[in-house]
Subunit: 675 residues, 2 copies
């Protein structure tokens, strides 16, 4: 009796059966690249000896064959951990328990960050196989490729292969150099009927293969170079999207294309060049060859999607926001002029959900799996354009909302990108109305003694996105800002930090002018920009809740790199997100990037998200009459009509109105702005 | 009752059923591109009225509906032949006989040249379809491509489409320009699981589509631009293969690649440039746009095959003559840098039979179908390298034989290419030993009065390939040449036309030196070159006959452009081909080119030849010990041991031997020379 752990699979085998053979017969997940030739060591197993009452057997040292010459040579030359054996060489001699360690499992699980507490199963589209190919025979002439196909069929049960020109060109010299043995890199996507040979190397080749998980955003492009066997990230890097010079947000890029013939081609070229540069950077950082990069998976919003593909995004700028194609795409690296990877590398682009809800939202859905939640979960991917998903096991809804760039610190008078010197945390004393703050790159609060020395090199330079959210929320809680978003006068607020600038007031957070630094204030215009952004976000969420037939959600997940830094309490004071217990607000980090990594590592996940995306119910904010009503009501801080009962139990929200003459200048109509 | 002719299919249909619908229900082959909208006129039918005793019905004018407005408008604007109706508009009103004219059949037969008496069925990989696509809907967002796929499924029952980048880029503007109607060009090869969109045009588009059937030879490249709907050849052209500058024959090109690093790339680039130039020439001649060329089918020998693909042919220069790939290939035009056709055009390359028997031989097998013959048929494709097929319904054998370029007039002292001024016919009077001849471009014999005037512009410039065969055979029959291939002296032959040149004799055919023209002779060296070539050819045929277990064949087919000009009797006197009745020797013209055309016009034929090629038994002349023995025996004219009984009954073959001292200088050993 042979028992495999952790699977618990068991069976009887003839004496002399290799452990690898036994594992395969039982369907135990035991890896092998060389097909049992004692070369690759991927089939390492750990025999257990002693009495196993749980399994009802006792095993002794003779239950496994002695070390044969192949196994001994491998150990002498390459080394093996104590207690490990090669599953293809060690044979069954009696009852035994065999443990398959995680690194010997093909479909090993990779534990992802604790936040989501879900594991990622390795099931990549790209894998390598070692094969021995029959030599050519003049009497039964066949091509080298055909004999390679036969070998893959016989040795790996792989049916059907194709090869592109780059492989065809090197096939003959490689087979001869390897003396009719080779390591082939095969690719099979979730919709492919045959395996595609991406590369071939002579003999047994242990070169690690990598893939790129790329989150192509309007503002930044982030990529993770990922080991396709282990799922580990070997290097991560991000660069600015060079399309910014054609327009800060998506609609301005669409406009650029409409106004400038060939403008779309310019933008396509610029982003592809940036991707090549980014790939080069990652290869250098991880010290790998470009030829080791075999696949890239993209997630992006629909406009980035079309510009990456070289499709003019003009249709995405106007109703009915028609996508050229919405399904996932499997392409050749050359199709996108991505030249800094293996010449045969493949591209996978996740499906788009709708004309405003792209493959990035699909990636968030893959990462956060709203369709598998019991609780009704709102997922907010905060960026220049916000994507929202609302759902649980019964159904999932999606929409996008044009928040604009205020949440990223843009269009804010003292706003800046998240960089050392930027205020990211702020507290305002409700009695004294005095602020204290933290800046990025410094662990001290501004009222602590060590602060000034700690920030000596960076200074205090501005407010980043999460800082401005805290600032506005703190101002509201401290009674410096009324529910309509008006900053009070020094008299109304009782603090000289509220200063008159023109016809409105600003709140001074930090005056660095004495040291030649900036005066950092929150102006009335800043407040209005934040109100516009948060109203759009909340109105989108409300629209989804309407469609779901509910006034409440049970859980909120903040996604996006920025989402990771938002304080849930302050976001709720602002009325960015619906009223839920604070412990039900979690951050998913860059969920879109995580979704890209999951898709890179698993074709099963690709197939699943394709099905999921088709089931998601799309809600179009641009044409929904109630969006405007929700938007106006959401202009108040936190909200004009929704009670926010949970929030009010934990946060002071003074009722004073500073302008008693009317509705003030808050809210109002605005046109759709997407990006 | 509706009866369709010529198929004879019949059925009952409700009054008002369109004829096109009735035809589809019965599986009658009635074409339609617009899907029954009265636009394309491909479904034209010819109703028959009167008494049809054969079909057991009588039909009158009321059996078909009156002309409706769509049909009438089509006739007024575009015209219809008398008696024709549109099958999609005319409806059943009573018993009727409907003839489907050939031009309305999708799978129409195209009668090929009388020689082969077989018809070609149109079943191209590329076809166009008119579809009406649903407009985008914000409430159920899908991509334009996905809605086009739905339309093709619903309107044409086409399941599964893919689109390359060039189509994706133009998809959105085309659909909008066509007001959500379009004509799509789809491609589906015999091994494809889905249709590939090659192109898309707004609205109903009648642009004719073309394909190229290309016979890529070592010396010449011939191409036929073929209408993919009718199978008609719109233009044909040929150019020299520019690789000739790297080596006249195949082995010298393989050597060039071995001796010069990057030499294979040079040769690949040169042939691809030539193909682009040839394509341009054909487009210009037929006055079509490059974008109308949607597919190219290639046939070629293995070395040309590899060089076209950009694969170093070095392995084909040495045993075991391994091909990189032997199966048929389906590629993108860009893979071969073929830029003078539609950017999405497809390439199909026929399968190779073996390392020396290429896709050109496969094309000959497709054209001449030895596997469907009752008679044991030897097919000889005469070129620089000869391919031989021997077989009948029971089995087919193949080999190649390195004849060298002598049969093409190369390596012959007075040899030249077939061009005006070249001697192509020759007769030698068996009594006077005087020759008379015809030259290309002139209908008169040289002893006719009008000859001199007729050749005034061209002169008599040399001897072409078929001329040299006739000259040598006529010399043998006139007793100027003995069976060992030795030219006799003036004394031995009784003619002063046998002149001494060095130590051997030459026979003077034409002395133009008085007029400043050439002296045209057949030298002893010429005879030896012809002997080497014909011995190789005959030895190959004998090897196949051995393998088949026979000493005779029943039919000989001469293929190759040159084969069309060879006189069967003279070829037999020379002992090029086995002894068969003269009326059993036929010419198939450029059978490889015909095979390429068949494959271009029919995916069914592609699938069939792929199967046939795998069944063909390959005989490798290079390693067969008996080849040398056959080669030596075949050196005699016609043959040292084979009786040639039929030939001797119709041609004088004097027994004299001019050199009685020994074996002379004929025959001897030679190394393999392939090209």
């Amino acid at each position: 009796m042979v028992v495999f752990t952790p699977s618990g699979k068991r069976g009887h085998f003839a004496t002399g059966t290799p452990i690898l053979t036994a594992a395969r017969k039982l369907g135990v997940d035991l890896d092998s690249v060389c097909g049992g030739r004692g070369i690759c060591s991927k089939c390492q197993i750990q025999p257990g000896f002693g009495e196993f009452s749980k399994h009802g057997l006792t095993s002794n040292e003779t239950a496994l064959s002695d070390w044969n010459s192949v196994e001994q040579r491998y150990k002498d030359k390459r080394g093996l951990l104590d207690g490990r054996r090669l599953g293809c060489q060690a044979t069954v001699q009696g009852d035994i328990v065999i443990d398959v360690p995680p690194d010997s499992q093909v479909h090993r699980q990779v534990v992802r960050k604790a936040a989501s507490a879900r594991a990622m199963v390795m099931d990549p589209a790209v894998r390598t196989y070692y094969v021995e190919v029959a030599e050519p025979d003049m009497h039964t002439p066949t091509g080298d490729l055909e004999r390679l196909g036969t070998a893959l069929k016989e040795q790996w049960d792989i049916n059907g292969i194709t090869a592109g020109m780059s492989v065809l060109r090197k096939l003959q010299p490689v087979l001869r150099k390897g003396k009719w043995t080779c390591t082939v890199t095969l690719h099979k996507g979730h919709q492919d009927s045959v395996h595609r040979i991406l590369d071939i190397a002579p003999g047994f080749n242990e070169m690690r293969l990598y893939g790129l998980a790329i989150d192509l955003g309007s503002t930044t492009i982030a990529a993770h170079l990922t080991d396709l066997r282990t799922g580990e990230v070997a290097a991560s890097s991000g660069i600015m999207n060079p399309q910014i010079r054609f327009g800060e947000d998506l609609m301005s890029r669409v406009s650029y294309s409409m106004m400038n013939p060939g403008g779309d081609v310019e933008m396509t070229t610029s982003v592809r060049m940036a991707l090549n540069a980014l790939t080069d950077t990652l290869s250098a950082e991880a010290e790998i060859q470009p030829a080791q990069i075999m696949e890239a998976v993209f997630v992006c919003n629909p406009v980035m999607h079309h510009l990456l593909l070289g499709i003019d995004p003009v249709e995405l700028g106007q109703a009915p926001f028609a996508l050229a194609t919405s399904k996932s795409l499997s392409l050749h690296a050359g199709d996108l002029e991505l030249s800094c990877m293996n010449p045969a590398a493949r591209i996978f682009i996740l499906p788009c959900i709708a004309g405003h809800v792209g493959a990035d939202a699909a990636a968030v859905a893959l990462s956060e799996a709203p369709d598998q939640q019991d609780e009704l979960t709102l997922i907010v991917d905060v960026g220049t354009n916000a994507e929202l998903l609302l759902g649980n096991k019964t159904k999932v809804l999606a929409c996008s909302s044009p928040t604009g760039p205020a949440f990223e610190g843009a269009q804010i008078s003292s706003g800046q990108r998240a960089a050392p010197g930027a205020i990211e945390r702020i507290e305002i004393n409700t009695t004294t109305k005095e602020p204290r703050f933290q800046v990025i790159g410094c662990g001290f609060w501004s009222d602590e003694a060590a602060f000034d020395a700690a920030i000596a090199t960076t200074g205090v330079t501005g407010i980043c996105g999460s800082g401005i959210i805290e600032a506005v929320a703190e101002m509201r809680m401290a009674g410096l800002l009324d529910s309509k978003g008006l900053i009070g006068s020094p008299v109304q607020t009782g603090t000289a930090r509220c200063i008159l600038e023109g016809r409105t007031h600003s709140y001074v957070i930090h005056d660095g002018t004495a040291d030649g630094g900036p005066m950092i204030t929150v102006t009335q215009t800043d407040i209005r920009a934040i109100q516009l952004a948060k109203s759009a976000l909340y109105a989108g969420a409300r629209l989804l809740m309407d469609e779901m037939g509910t006034d409440t959600v049970e859980r909120v997940v903040l996604a996006g790199a920025f989402g990771a830094h938002i304080s849930p309490k302050h976001a709720m004071v602002l009325g960015m997100i619906p009223d839920v217990p604070l412990d039900k607000v979690t951050s998913a980090g860059n969920a879109a990037g995580t979704g890209a990594r999951i898709a890179l590592c698993s074709v099963t996940a690709r197939a699943a998200i394709e099905v999921t995306v088709r089931k998601i119910i799309k809600v179009e904010t641009a044409i929904e009459p109630k969006f405007q009503e929700h938007f106006v009501n959401a202009n108040a801080i936190p909200h004009a009509t929704d009670p926010f009962t949970i929030l009010r139990s934990i946060a002071p929200l003074p009722d004073a109105l500073f302008n008693t003459q009317g509705s003030g200048d808050g809210g109002g109509r605005r046109r759709r702005r997407a990006s």
